[in-house]
């Protein structure tokens, strides 16, 4: 590869995506051979049965055509090869804005696999679940202390389900007061889950415009706030990485007309140990344990989205709740919450994720959590300082945990945000979040997290500066990126226009 046209320039060679041991690998079904199996059953120690003798003939299937037949070694090679085609936090920086792709400590993985956690059953008696119930209770108290909220439910399985839970509690609160409010205010910079969660619970969504400076202004909220509005959903710091400086005043406006304020905790990493949503007028918020509290993102989950509330919403918490019994007698699960909104999860929530987050909080402690926020904010401001002379910065002011750039300075070259993102792959980085927030044209949203060393950040900076030079000198090189991956750019339009959503045997091969 050395010396070829598409060789990334300007950065050190460490970690650059290369050809390496690149294996091809077909689909499981294309590898399948009749008679193979990667599993061995124990001997049957009870009489064999004929399903047809026990079940009605029309209740039984004859075959499972969708499943392959493979030995264990073939399955292991298959998935090991697949794994090598993924970018991952353990390989290189993954500065995906708003996703907080921080390092996932190995201890957390080991702890979550202890049989006392991983092989426990959600319906086993409380008396033989005391370790887990104690963990739940302590994690609830930790999250309440970190956020300044009064009570916490651990049940929601992800941030979006946390939002839904919070909005349902807000609905229950208003209905209890005999009020029928139909609207929820959402800033135009919000994550798509905010309006979707409000709509999923039957609310009309009112978009609130951000100011020129990228933050919400009390006037805009005041203008939209009526007795019809149940709540304002706000993300702080917001998706431009800016602290909502007027949050206290905005919360007062919403409260003065009987509304409540929902806090989207996606960006809580910036505030750990520094400031607390509960001190800012937030009535209810969710935590993304897979962002702020280091649990792995898993290629798309599982996450966990606990919800914290002020006392005013405590009567509506989902069931069951964990209660500490008097006199040190341990803990119990209780469904005795008379005004509960009900149940959100089939069991108790994503417990394996809760165990990891609890382990992380114990590891870091008060000082360590604050250190996370400090270094995350330091890293984001460092990137901004090093890139602001080269890339357009739509709201150029000190940021919190992430910064947003755009492709505007490269308009004449024809190179867009998508091209920059794809070229960054050639330099060995997962691209930032792109085209979000929607209020910035061609946004590149970069969240380094505290996990990245100054050396890694400098490598990211050098790579982005090199891409800017390439865009001016050789734009086609950038527009054709990535060049060094197994696949060149994939045709997403074709996938959507003519959806192929499953493998099917080739009809010609009989």
């Amino acid at each position: 590869m050395s010396g070829s046209d598409d060789e990334p320039r300007g950065a050190t060679q460490v970690g650059i995506a290369g050809a390496g041991l690149g294996y091809e690998e077909r689909l499981l079904f294309e590898r399948s051979a009749p008679g193979r199996c990667g599993y061995s059953l124990p001997d049957l120690d009870v009489p064999e049965v004929d399903p047809r003798a026990l079940l009605p003939a029309d209740a039984i299937r004859s075959d499972i055509p969708g499943l392959p037949e493979l030995s264990e070694v073939e399955v292991v090679r298959h998935f090991t090869r697949l794994s090598t085609w993924n970018a991952a936090v353990d390989l290189a920086p993954y500065p995906l804005g708003s996703c907080t792709m921080k390092y996932n400590p190995k201890l957390n993985e080991k702890i979550a696999r202890l049989p006392g956690f991983s092989a426990a059953h959600p319906l086993q008696p409380d008396a033989v679940s005391q370790g887990l119930l104690e963990l739940f209770h302590r994690l609830e108290r930790q999250l309440a202390e970190i956020s300044g909220m009064d009570r916490v439910t651990l049940q929601p399985a992800a941030g979006a389900q946390g939002e839904l839970t919070g909005i349902m509690m807000i609905r229950a609160y208003h209905e209890r007061k005999g009020e029928k409010r139909r609207k929820v205010m959402v800033p135009d910079s919000a994550h798509g889950t905010n309006p979707a969660s409000a709509a999923l619970n039957g609310y009309d969504v009112v978009a609130i415009p951000s100011g020129e400076d990228g933050i919400l202004h009390p006037e805009a909220v005041e203008a939209a706030m009526t007795e019809e509005v149940a709540a304002l959903m706000v993300t702080n710091p917001n998706t431009l990485g800016l602290f909502e400086e007027h949050i206290t005043r905005i919360a007062e406006i919403v409260h003065s007309r009987g509304g409540l304020v929902y806090g989207d905790g996606a960006n809580l990493n910036a505030l750990l140990g520094v400031a607390r949503p509960g001190d800012m007028g937030i009535d209810v918020m969710h935590f993304n344990l897979h962002k702020t509290f280091s649990t792995p993102h898993g290629g798309g989950g599982p996450g966990a989205g606990p919800v914290g509330v002020k006392e005013v919403l405590a009567p509506y918490l989902p069931i069951p709740v964990v209660r500490e019994l008097a006199g040190g007698a341990g803990f119990e699960l209780s469904a005795d919450v008379p005004d509960t909104i009900g149940r959100l999860h089939g069991n108790l929530g994503n417990v394996g994720v809760l165990v990891r987050a609890f382990t992380y909080i114990l590891s870091l402690g008060a000082d360590g959590l604050r250190r996370c926020a400090e270094m995350a904010v330091l890293n984001a401001n460092y990137l901004l300082a090093r890139l602001r002379d080269t890339y357009h910065v739509p709201c150029d002011r000190p940021v919190m945990h992430e910064c947003v750039l755009s492709d505007r300075s490269l308009r004449d070259s024809g190179v867009t945000t998508l091209d920059i993102a794809k070229r960054l792959i050639d330099y060995g980085f997962h691209p930032p979040t792109i085209y979000f927030p929607l209020i910035v044209h061609g946004a590149l949203m970069i969240e380094p997290t505290e996990s990245e060393s100054p050396e890694e950040l400098e490598r990211l900076v050098e790579s982005l500066l090199a891409i800017d030079r390439e865009a001016r000198e050789n734009p086609e090189l950038v527009r054709g990126a990535p060049h060094r991956t197994r696949h060149s750019r994939l045709d997403e339009t074709r996938a959507a226009r003519n959806p192929v959503l499953r493998w099917q045997p080739d009809p010609d091969s009989g």
Binding site: E25, I146, A199, G299, G346, A385, S451
Partner: protein, 453 residues
């Protein structure tokens, strides 16, 4: 600084910080937070203990873990929506690869082909297991998948009534009630017949009904008549939704698509996902091609790159919240990706033959237990309809006492049905899988019949 434990996860030295602050032009770390109004900034640390060393944290967590009964410490007969099955070692070995678990949603397909291809393989296998055309890339769990299936049917039919079997898992029913509470929907309950099956659904469906929801096998383990339900639902223009909590049954029972279901949903924890005190588990949702535009959740589709090489991408995302916002089919974003990977590996290992044999072994164990119970004085089988690996047992003594006796003998003996099916009297829901040897089944039955300590 050696004892400042959190530094093990954060690389920055004091020197690094000083140099970076200089580049930024900010005098002190605290000043980075100047945009937060002074009165909102904490003046001291939050009230949590200091950080701890790795070995101290591990010791504390091991203490908490040791205080919980689990399927490795006890003989296990408790199911009811979460099932103890053997998981081949290769599953955890492969999902422990950080290239899988420390990645995120595959937004950048050129560097996410591992995750994308695995999801495509999952979608294919679930289509085969359900005999439907399209499966999504997971929901949170079986309960929310069932609620989302109901919402999907309401959008498709533009109707707001849902008829739900009384034998739907009680927690699934609660979640359904919660999800539908803000939406002016009506939920009608289809009662249970004496043999354990739902009563014929025809009497509970009309021109306002969006969907009929049946669980297969139902909460009491009984195999329902799906074809009859499909006919009755379709006659009034409603959809049939089947929900499953024990996904292994899909390897043995007539697949929902063949039986006339329009949407199949439920919980796939049985496919290699740890019980983990209830989560994370693996919701799934599958349907017919013509309904795909109303399907919530992520979908992976096949395409080619600019050189014509096959690859996979997230697709049909105009259904989703990050594009469609308040008009999306759902608010779901993060789902259960890594659990999906566990299940995909599990299904690949067991395969077409292994999964069927395992299902037949589960059936045989339950059949042995049922036959033994039938000949044991003081115990009876209150429901006559056929079952898979789970069934109800009526006891001569209070269920709680029998379970406590079993626990003293190191057995988690099943679920007390008192709160869920009081009409059965003192009864337990018992589940047998490949993990229950014959001697263990015999011992449980002896204890339930009044023996043991």
């Amino acid at each position: 600084m050696i004892e400042a434990n959190p530094l093990r996860y954060i690389p920055h030295t004091d020197d690094d910080v000083r140099r970076m602050l200089e580049v930024i032009g900010c005098p002190r770390t605290e000043d980075l937070f100047a945009s937060i109004p002074e009165k909102l900034r904490l003046q001291g640390p939050v009230a949590l203990p200091a950080g701890a060393s790795e070995q101290d944290v591990a010791a504390e967590l091991e203490r908490l873990a040791a205080a919980n009964a689990n399927a490795r410490s006890h003989e296990w007969f408790l199911g009811g929506g979460t099932y103890a099955h053997f998981v081949p070692s290769a599953v955890d070995a492969l999902v422990s690869r950080a290239e899988f678990y420390s990645a995120y949603t595959p937004y950048q397909p050129e560097i996410s082909q591992g995750t994308l291809q695995a999801i495509f393989e999952w979608q294919t296998m679930m289509c085969g297991l359900t005999a439907l055309d399209v499966s999504n890339a997971s929901m949170y769990d079986g309960a929310s998948a069932t609620a989302e299936a109901a919402l999907m049917a309401m959008r498709i039919t533009r109707r707001s009534k849902v008829a739900v079997s009384a034998s739907l898992h009680p927690h699934y029913r609660q979640v359904l009630d919660t999800y539908l509470a803000g939406l002016r929907a009506e939920i009608v309950t289809i009662p249970r017949g004496e043999d354990g099956r739902s009563q014929p659904v025809g009497g509970f469906v009309d021109g306002e009904t969006a969907a009929v929801i049946l669980q297969q096998p139902n909460f009491l383990g009984v195999v329902e008549d799906l074809s009859g339900a499909a006919e009755a639902a379709h006659a009034d223009g409603a959809l049939l939704i089947t929900s499953v909590t024990e996904a292994l049954s899909l390897a043995l029972l007539r697949p929902p698509g063949d039986a006339g279901a329009d949407i199949a949903c439920g919980e796939a924890q049985s496919f290699g996902v740890p019980m983990a005190f209830g989560g994370p588990h693996l919701g799934f949702l599958a349907t017919r091609s013509k309904l795909v535009r109303q399907l919530p959740g992520r979908l992976v589709g096949e395409t080619v790159d600019t050189r014509g090489k096959r690859g996979f991408v997230l697709t049909l995302s105009t259904r989703e919240q990050h594009i469609r916002r308040e008009r999306a089919t759902s608010n779901i974003c993060t789902n259960e990706g890594l659990c999906l990977l566990m299940a995909t590996i599990y299904l690949a290992l067991l395969g077409r033959v292994g999964l069927r044999k395992l299902a037949e072994m589960n059936l045989a164990k339950a059949q042995y237990a049922k036959a033994k119970i039938q000949e044991t004085p003081g115990l009876e089988l209150p429901l006559s309809a056929p079952t898979f690996n789970e069934f109800a047992v009526r006891l001569g003594a209070p269920a709680g006492e029998a379970l406590a006796r079993a626990r003293r003998a190191g057995i988690i003996g099943g679920l007390d049905l008192g709160a869920h099916a009081p009409e059965l009297g003192s009864a337990l829901l018992i589940c047998t899988t490949e993990l229950n040897p014959k001697e263990s089944i015999d011992r449980l039955i002896g204890i339930l019949a009044g023996g043991g300590s």
